[in-house]
């Protein structure tokens, strides 16, 4: 049964660690764009930095939780450096600076100069930095396997139940954190800044400081997402480039910016449909298009989806159409 295999693959994507990682990256973008109106076009840069932070720290002998803190700190520091010169300027400048800064991080990562630490273009192999994470597992040790419905994975390992459990637990914590933040007066100030920062400034709020806080928090979500992203694979700078940023944006806009569960729903739906499309094309168009072309067509469809979303349903699935009605600023 080819169809059931395709459906199982799509179902697996719903709970895949990568889905959780992109959901978390989109949660960060949601803090930036959805709530504060900041255009961060370099979320992949935050993710890559978080992945390097975690990987390099672990390889140097840091325990898991310290490596996780270093990953978070790397994202926060990157946000501070990017925000300091740009947040006083008009919004577009942040977009330009973040997109180029993310590219710089990727280029530095694959440069031979730092090969000793980053592994150059080949990156850091999975085995070199995952032991501390897998030692944390309280699930049965490998090669013990467990099945849940049609899905079956090892309990502990790279592509395991433990990785899934951990990744989604982190997403859950992030959702609760964002919920606490955005229902509060602090979140209201962010939304005010999104609408009109001069008005908020005229009411005595330090707009720069609030924008910086949002940029740092969202960036930390991004770097933590980068860590989750590499837990089931290796750190490869070229796999975390611009397209990853645009995946995160598509996920956010699909689910609905400025909503609590939008990024999570968007990520699940995006990856399930993306897998369904590619697996479907591989099976259905076998002999007509090659496997590489399927990947390319898949990427193309993501771009088209992003455009159609922005044109026809800018509020996403969970967003409120009414709120978007007054876009006049």
């Amino acid at each position: 049964m080819e169809l059931s295999r395709i459906l199982t693959q799509a179902l697996a994507e719903l709970i895949a660690p990568t889905t959780a990682a992109i959901a978390l990256a989109a949660i960060g973008l949601n803090l930036h764009f959805g709530f504060t109106g900041l255009l961060n076009m370099g979320q992949a840069g935050f993710m890559l930095l978080g992945a390097y932070g975690f990987g390099i720290a672990t390889i140097s002998g840091a325990p898991f939780w310290l490596a996780l803190l270093i990953s978070l700190a790397a994202g926060a520091l990157f946000a501070l450096i990017l925000g300091a010169p740009t947040l006083q300027l008009r919004g577009d400048y942040l977009a330009i600076v973040t997109i180029s800064a993310a590219e710089i991080i990727r280029m530095l990562g694959r440069a031979t100069v730092f090969q000793e630490y980053t592994g150059g273009a080949a990156g850091l192999t999975g085995g070199s930095f995952k032991s501390t994470f897998q030692e944390l597992s309280f699930l049965p040790a490998p090669p013990e396997r467990g099945a849940f419905g049609p899905l079956e994975y090892v309990f502990t390992g790279s592509d395991s139940w433990w990785t899934r459990l951990f990744a989604w637990a982190v997403v859950l914590i992030a959702v609760v954190f964002v919920w606490l933040l955005t229902r509060s007066p602090w979140g209201r100030v962010l939304k005010g800044i999104r609408e009109d920062e001069d008005a908020v400034r005229a009411l005595g709020k330090n707009v720069f400081s609030y924008k910086m806080q949002a940029l740092v928090l969202g960036g930390m979500c991004g770097s933590l997402a980068g860590m989750l992203y590499v837990l089931p694979r290796s750190v490869a700078p070229d796999a975390m480039g611009r397209s990853l940023t645009f995946f995160a944006w598509t996920v956010l806009l699909l689910g609905g910016a400025a909503t609590l569960f939008g990024p999570v729903l968007g990520s699940m739906l995006f990856y399930a449909v993306y897998m369904l499309l590619r697996a479907g094309m591989r099976e259905g168009l076998e002999g007509v298009v090659s496997a590489t072309m399927v990947e390319q067509i898949g990427g193309l469809l993501v771009g088209v989806t992003l455009m159609l979303l922005v044109i026809f349903r800018p509020q996403g699935i969970l967003g409120n159409k009414k709120e978007l009605a007054f876009d006049a600023r």
């Binding site: 954190f177 606490l180 933040l181 509060s184 007066p185 602090w186 979140g187 209201r188 100030v189 939304k191 005010g192 999104r194 609408e195 009109d196 001069d198 008005a199 908020v200 400034r201 005229a202 009411l203 005595g204 709020k205 330090n206 707009v207 806080q213 009414k322 709120e323 009605a325 007054f326 876009d327 006049a328 600023r329």
Partner: protein
């Protein structure tokens, strides 16, 4: 006088006999506005009666003192104010033709623009170079000519956002609701009280973006009041507001003074200023050309020149203009001004 707050209501009213009360034009609306007869209004008039109506004159109790402020854009000097004092507890109008530099001067005072030179003090504290947010926290709160209602927040959220010193606006404080729930409740009560005064309480849960232009002006003023300002700066509060709402707006401005606040407002329509202001400052080409009580300042030659041009009564078809001697005399006059 009719007290409409929503444009919808105005149209409803015009179908019934009392419609004659609804002013047809802004001028008519303004003529119907009477000076309030409160103690504060009388006191303001009494204090300022003793002040000589000359440019840069010192006032008995100035809340804002401006010295030698200049703002240049390239070769153009947009604002060049030698000395200005604003009396505490009165309504001061800043008028002048379009392009006189009123809004630029406003932006300078409130920290939204930086002057090339000059200093000013608010309640004795120097405010030059202070950020806009700090200016507001010091008690000098402004509104904007193009209203800045925060569209995708509700009317009540707009109000609550303006309240100062909410512990929930701190990143770490915001995570613990018990820390700010009390403040929020108190602020909500205060916000509803102010909204009721501006007749916006029925709209509290609507998005601010759904309000009419006039209602947004009212909301912006109400929002400024939430900060408990000592001085409120209104940039063209009457611009683009329908005649019926202009009246209620003017009453609200007078009420601000009667509540003990100092009001400085920008307006280019001399008519609007006459009825409610206690003191008028006239700007033209970046300079203050006259100041005085509203009744007499309009007769000032400098004001007439600023609004109508110095040679508005010179007949351009007059052959004598072809005479070099007459032209030279006119030019000399122009230089002297």
């Amino acid at each position: 006088m009719p007290d409409e707050t929503t444009e919808n209501k105005v149209t409803e009213v015009s179908d019934v006999p009392e419609a004659t009360d609804v002013p047809e034009s802004t001028v008519e609306a303004l003529d119907a506005v009477e000076r309030s007869e409160t103690e504060a209004a009388k006191a303001a008039e009494h204090v300022l009666a003793a002040v000589e109506p000359t440019v840069g004159v010192s006032k008995p109790d100035p809340i804002l003192v401006v010295d030698d402020v200049q703002r240049r854009f390239g070769g153009m000097t947009a604002v060049d104010v030698q000395h200005l004092e604003v009396q505490r507890g009165v309504i001061t109008a800043l008028i002048g033709p379009n392009g006189a530099g009123k809004t630029t001067f406003f932006n300078l005072l409130t920290g939204f623009d930086k002057p090339n030179q000059g200093s000013w003090a608010f309640e004795g504290r120097p405010l030059g170079g202070v950020s806009a947010a700090k200016v507001a926290r010091n008690g000098m709160v402004r509104t904007f000519q193009l209203t800045k209602a925060l569209s995708r927040l509700t009317v009540l959220q707009n109000m609550l956002l303006a309240a100062m010193g909410n512990p929930g606006e701190n990143l770490f404080g915001s995570l613990v609701k018990p820390l700010w729930a009390g403040t929020e409740k108190k602020n909500t009560e205060k916000a509803l009280e102010i909204l009721a005064r501006f007749k916006l309480d029925a709209k509290k849960d609507d998005f601010a973006g759904s309000l009419s232009g006039g209602q947004r002006k009212l909301l912006e003023m109400a929002r400024a009041l939430m900060t408990d300002p000592t001085m409120i700066m209104l940039d063209e509060p009457m611009a683009g507001v329908n005649p019926a709402l202009v009246q209620s707006l003017l009453h609200h401005i007078q009420a601000l003074r009667d509540d003990g606040m100092t009001v400085l407002f920008v307006e280019h329509d001399m008519h609007a200023v006459r009825h409610i202001s206690d003191w008028v400052v006239v700007m033209a080409e970046g300079k203050i050309v006259a100041e005085g009580p509203p009744k007499s300042v309009m007769q000032d030659q400098a004001v007439v020149d600023a609004y109508l041009g110095a040679h508005h009564d010179t007949d351009l078809g007059d052959d004598s203009l072809l005479d070099p001697a007459v032209l030279a005399r006119l030019e000399a006059e122009e230089e002297k001004r």
